[in-house]
Amino acid sequence: MMKINSHTLSEKLKVLLFIAPLLIPLLTFWIVPFGWSVYISFTDWDYISPEYSYVGFENYQYMLEDSQFLQALNNTFVFALGVVIPTVMLGLAFALLLHKNFRGSQLYRAVIFSPWITPTVAVSIVWSWVFETKSGLANLLLGKIGFAPIPWLESGDTAMIVVMIVTIWQGVGWTMLFFISALNKIPESLYEASLIDGCSPLTRFIKITLPLISPTTFFLVIVNMITAIQAFDQFQILTQGGPSGSTRTLLYLFYQQAFELYDMGPAAATSLIILLITGVLTLINTEMGKRWIYY
C-alpha cells in the first residue's frame, strides 16, 4: 500500500515539475490578472489612492452612454474590417501566384513577408514620413499628377486609411504563407479531373480551390481580426487616436483610460469588452474549425 502511494506521489511530483515552470508565470501574469481585472472593473479605483468603492455595473452602464466608448467601438470594427478584407484578398492573390515553386518564387515570398519581421514602431515612423502633409512622398506624388495635397494624418477618414495601409502592408505576407500551405495541400488529382472535364481556370478556381481552402480563409479572417483589434503600436506612432478620437480604437481607449487618466475601473471594463469580442471570435473559430476539415 505504502509503496503504491509513494509511487503515485512521485508521479504527481514529476508532473508538477514539468508543468510548474509554465504554470507559475501563467497564473501570475495571465489567469490571476484576468480575475483581478474583472474585479477592478466593478470599482472606481484611481491607482493612486488606496481607497476605492464598489460601483457594481456602473462602469459598464456608463459605456453605453459614453460617446467616446461608442466611437471607439465603431472605429475598432471599421479598422478591423478595413484591414482584414484587403489582407485576406491580397494574401490569397499572392498565394495563388506563388504556391508553386518556380525560379524566384522563394524570393518573392520572402520580400512580401519581410515587413512582418520588422518592428512596427520603426516602420510606422517611416510611413509617417511618407504620409506627412507638407513634404511626404504621397502628397508630392499626388502633386505631380495634379491633385491637391491631402492632410493624411490630420483628417479623420484619411488617418484611419493610413493606419490600415500600414497594417495591411505588414500583415499580408503572414496571411499569404497560410494560404500557400493550404493550396499545396489540395490533392493534385482533383485538378487533373477538372482538366479532363475541360473546366476553365476560373470555374476551377471557384468550384474547386475556393471551397477547399474556405476553412483556412475563415481561420485567417478571424485571426487577422483578433490581431487588428489588438493593434496599438502603429496607432501610437501615426495618430495617437486622433484627430479628435477618429482613430481611437478600444485598445487605445483602454490605454488612455488606464495609463493617462488612471481611471482603472472604466479601463478594466473596456479591456473586458475587448476580451468579449476576441473571445466570441475565437469561439466561432474553434466551433467552425470542428465542422470543417482543414486542408
Binding site: 515552470p21 512580401i112 519581410s114 489588438q230 496599438f232 479591456s271 476576441t278 474553434t286
Partner: protein, 313 residues
C-alpha cells in the same frame, strides 16, 4: 517649318501601324497555338510583372528609409522626390548614435528577447511534454486553460500585472519584462502539435530502457523537433525584440529602453517639426536592419516554419 514637322507624326503613324500588324500577327499566331507555349509565356510574364510591381511596393518603405537616412536634411527639403541621395552621407548614422544610445537599446532588446525566448522554449517544451507524453488526470483541462488564455488580450492583464510587478519591485527593470513574458501560450500550442507527431514507440522504448522523463525529453523528443524549435525560437525572439506596448508601460529609465520604446522617444524629441527626417530615418534603419539581416539569414526556417506548422488545430 510646317512641312518639316509633318513627316514626323506620319512616320510615327506608320511605325504604329507596323507594330500593330506585328502584334496582330502575334495574336493570330497565339490563337493558332492555343494553350501552347506563347500563351503560357504571356501569362507568365504578366505574373512576373505583377509580382515585381508588388515586391517593389513591399520593399519600398525600407528603400525610402535607407535613402532618406543618407540624404542631408537640406536635400530632403529642396529635392524631396529624389530617390537616391546626391551623395551618400553616412554621418547621419553617427549623429543618430551620438544623440541617443541606440547601441544600448539594441543590446537591451537583444538581452531581454534572448532570455525571454530561452525561458519560453524550456517551459513550453516541458509543459507540452507533460500534456502529450505523461499520463495524469486533468491533462485536457490544463490544455484548455492554456488555450483559453490564447484569447485573452494583453490589455486585460496589463493593470493587474503592472501592480504585481510594482509589488515585487520589478517595475522599470528588465527582469520584470522577462518574467512577465515568460509564459507563452503560442509556445505550448506550437510544441504540443509538434510533440504529438513524435512516434510513441520511441518514447516507450526509452522508458523500458529506464530513462527518466527529463532525459527522454532532452535526448529523444527535442532532437526530433529541431526545425520546429528553431522556428519557435525565431518567432518568439522577433516578437519580443519588437514588442512595444507593454515595455513602454513598464520601462521609464532611458538607459533601460528597448529599441522600440527608445526609437519612439527619439522620434517624439526630434520629429515634432518634421525638420530632422534624415536622422530619424537613420534611427529607424538602426532598428530595422538587424531584423532584416536576421530574416535574410534564417528566411527558410521562418517561412517554412510558419507555413507548415502554423497555428492550426
Amino acid at each position: 517649318m510646317t512641312t518639316q514637322t509633318i513627316p514626323l507624326p506620319r512616320a510615327m503613324q506608320q511605325d504604329e501601324k507596323s507594330t500593330l500588324t506585328v502584334l496582330l500577327a502575334l495574336f493570330k499566331q497565339r490563337k493558332t497555338v492555343t494553350n501552347g507555349v506563347s500563351k503560357s509565356i504571356f501569362s507568365k510574364s504578366l505574373k512576373h510583372v505583377f509580382l515585381i510591381f508588388s515586391g517593389l511596393i513591399m520593399v519600398f518603405p525600407f528603400v525610402w528609409m535607407l535613402m532618406g537616412s543618407m540624404k542631408s536634411n537640406d536635400e530632403i527639403f529642396s529635392n524631396p522626390m529624389n530617390l537616391f541621395p546626391e551623395q551618400f552621407r553616412w554621418e547621419s548614422f553617427i549623429e543618430a548614435f551620438n544623440s541617443a544610445p541606440f547601441g544600448l537599446y539594441i543590446m537591451n532588446s537583444f538581452t531581454v528577447a534572448l532570455f525571454t525566448t530561452l525561458i519560453v522554449i524550456v517551459n513550453s517544451a516541458m509543459f507540452a511534454y507533460a500534456i502529450t507524453q505523461l499520463k495524469f488526470r486533468s491533462q485536457t483541462l490544463l490544455y484548455f486553460v492554456v488555450m483559453a488564455c490564447y484569447m485573452l488580450p494583453g490589455a486585460v492583464t496589463y493593470i493587474p500585472s503592472y501592480i504585481t510587478l510594482a509589488n515585487l519591485g520589478l517595475l522599470d527593470s528588465h527582469t520584470g519584462l522577462v518574467i512577465s513574458n515568460a509564459a507563452s501560450v503560442f509556445g505550448v500550442f506550437y510544441l504540443r502539435q509538434v510533440f504529438l507527431k513524435v512516434h510513441p514507440s520511441l518514447i516507450e522504448a526509452a522508458r523500458i530502457d529506464g530513462a527518466g522523463e527529463v532525459k527522454i525529453l532532452w535526448a529523444i523528443v527535442l532532437p526530433q523537433c529541431k526545425a520546429a524549435l528553431a522556428t519557435l525560437f525565431l518567432i518568439t525572439f522577433i516578437t519580443n525584440y519588437n514588442s512595444y506596448m507593454w515595455p513602454s508601460l513598464l520601462i521609464t529609465s532611458q538607459d533601460l529602453n528597448l529599441i522600440a520604446t527608445g526609437i519612439r522617444q527619439f522620434f517624439i524629441a526630434e520629429g515634432n517639426y518634421g525638420l530632422n527626417w534624415s536622422q530619424i530615418m537613420a534611427a529607424s534603419s538602426i532598428a530595422v536592419l538587424p531584423l532584416l539581416t536576421l530574416f535574410i539569414i534564417f528566411q527558410k526556417t521562418i517561412l517554412s516554419g510558419i507555413a507548415d506548422n502554423g497555428v492550426k488545430e
